[in-house]
Amino acid sequence: MIEINAELLIGRKVCDTNGEKVGRIEEFRVTNKEKACLVEGYLVGTSALIDRLSAWTLIRPIGKALRGRMYSVYEVPWEQMDLSDPEHPKLRIPKSELRHSK
């Protein structure tokens, strides 16, 4: 069991099992029940244009707001995300098996 600062995961690059870049962690889907907050999944955002600029803290939040045309989001269930190295989050599946978020 490791302790992670969840807010520092935001914007971290995520790669799949083949080392291919998937996108960056943008959001955590959680359920809040009986005083416990469980992470159900992660939303990983990807965009060629925004990604090139995504090191710029200034651009990414605006890019997120333009979601849809320029920016798509994958839904990653919690069991498919490997956070053993929080600086380099990895998927446990290849990118092709990911679902797009609604």
């Binding site: 935001i10 803290t57 200034l58 990414r60 939040p61 605006i62 707001a65």
Partner: protein, 404 residues
């Protein structure tokens, strides 16, 4: 009845609080150098400001969040910190200009140099914030600022050619000196569209506990208040065009600007100018200091309210104390408030996208505004004006610096 009184007060305080050293110096320089040719910049700036102020009030009334609250929550702390750094840095320069404006007015009235007034003025401004309530600051300073109506009186008394003035409402390019003209247009836009005004207005809506029922009143205050205020700016330009341009007087010194009312109002005009600037700059200094302190307090989650004792919102009170003290320092070293004014207005134009782009996203966000989101008109007007300001600023500021 209470709402009607609030409405009247809102409009009056918008008018009384509109002019400050930035709008007066930039309008006076424009009139002295280009006659009526830059009236369009004041018109464009005022129209944009009407929309921005209305939007600020609407956001706070509906979402019960200030612009700063919503920016931090919607975009996250790292993005917010960049916005905060940029906006606060420029607002601080404007504060230095306003404190300098109070000092220069007292210099005219007393003969004692503005550098000597830096500390007493800062203490006076600080004391008003320390002991005063939000209502006192918002209403008191602005009611005193109504003396700036004397600019309109002076302009009318000089019998301007209204036809020529009307031509100035359409943009034209001068024959030569395009860089300086562009820079002056940018400075006027920056003087009119001041982000600190939006943050102050939005915080005021929360301090005054506005809700959705205040939306119509907010529209009227923004519309009428800013329109009348814009007319006052135009009056300064017209008066300068008539009083200074024929005599070849450029406004590089405060005392030169003070001459713009003398043809109409004789020596009274000189003193009326000084009193007008004194109260106008005082109101602005209070607003800007509060706006900067609100930025820190709201963004970082401190308790804040001008109606609380300082010990009940200690970090907020500490913030405005430090801000005002720091604002006096450049003046102690004799930095020319007029130069600071003009440059800070131009920098305001250049940094407008930092404030306005996230704000426009908020104004279209259903989470904050529900059915009261922006329509296409608000979005278009603001986006176009900000784009114009930014592009002009990027081109003209370097040219002006190179040209000295």
């Amino acid at each position: 009845m209470k709402k009607i009184l609030q409405l009247a007060l809102g409009i009056i305080t918008s008018v009384g609080g509109f002019l400050e050293i930035g709008s007066v110096v930039t309008a006076a320089q424009a009139g002295a150098n280009y006659g009526y040719k830059l009236l369009w910049a004041i018109l464009l700036g005022t129209i944009c400001l009407i929309f921005l102020v209305e939007m600020s009030g609407r956001l706070s009334a509906v979402s019960k969040h200030t612009i700063v609250d919503a920016t931090r929550e919607r975009f996250g702390f790292p993005f917010f910190s960049i916005v905060m750094l940029g906006i606060v840095a420029v607002a601080f320069l404007v504060l230095v200009a306003e404190l300098g404006g109070i000092g220069l007015s007292l210099q005219i009235l007393s003969g004692i140099g503005f550098r000597w007034w830096a500390i007493p003025v800062s203490i006076a401004v600080w004391l008003l914030m320390w002991k005063g309530t939000f209502g006192l600051i918002e209403n008191g300073a602005s009611l005193l600022g109504l003396v700036t109506i004397s600019f309109a009186v002076a302009a009318v008394k000089m019998h301007p050619d209204w036809g020529s003035a009307a031509h100035g409402l359409l943009p034209t390019m001068p024959g030569d000196g395009k860089a300086k003209y562009g820079f002056m247009a940018v400075s006027i836009l920056g003087a009119s569209i001041s982000p600190y005004l939006m943050y102050f207005y939005s915080s005021g809506a929360i301090e005054d506990k506005w809700d959705e029922s205040y939306i119509p009143m907010n529209r009227i205050i923004a519309g009428f208040g800013m329109t009348f205020g814009g007319f006052l700016s135009m009056a300064v330009l017209v008066a300068a065009a008539l009083a200074l341009q024929p005599r070849g007087i450029d406004v590089e010194k405060f005392e030169q600007a003070a001459l713009l009312m003398t043809p109409a109002l004789t020596h009274w005009g000189f003193y009326l100018f000084a009193f007008s600037m004194l109260f106008a700059c005082l109101g602005a200094a209070l607003e800007i200091s509060l706006a900067i302190a609100y930025f820190f307090a709201q963004g970082l989650g401190w308790s804040w309210s001008e109606d609380l004792d300082p010990s009940r919102d200690a970090r907020f009170a500490f913030a405005y104390t430090i801000i005002i003290l720091l604002g006096a320092i450049p003046l102690l070293f004799g930095i020319d408030p007029i130069k600071v004014t003009v440059m800070s207005m131009a920098l305001t134009s250049a940094t407008l996208p930092l404030a306005i782009v996230p704000f426009l996203f908020l104004m279209n966000d259903p989470i904050y505004l529900g059915k009261h989101r922006n329509g296409w008109l608000s979005n278009s007007v603001v986006a176009i004006v900000i784009l114009i300001s930014f592009v002009l600023a990027i081109i003209s500021i370097p040219l002006e610096i190179i040209g000295g």
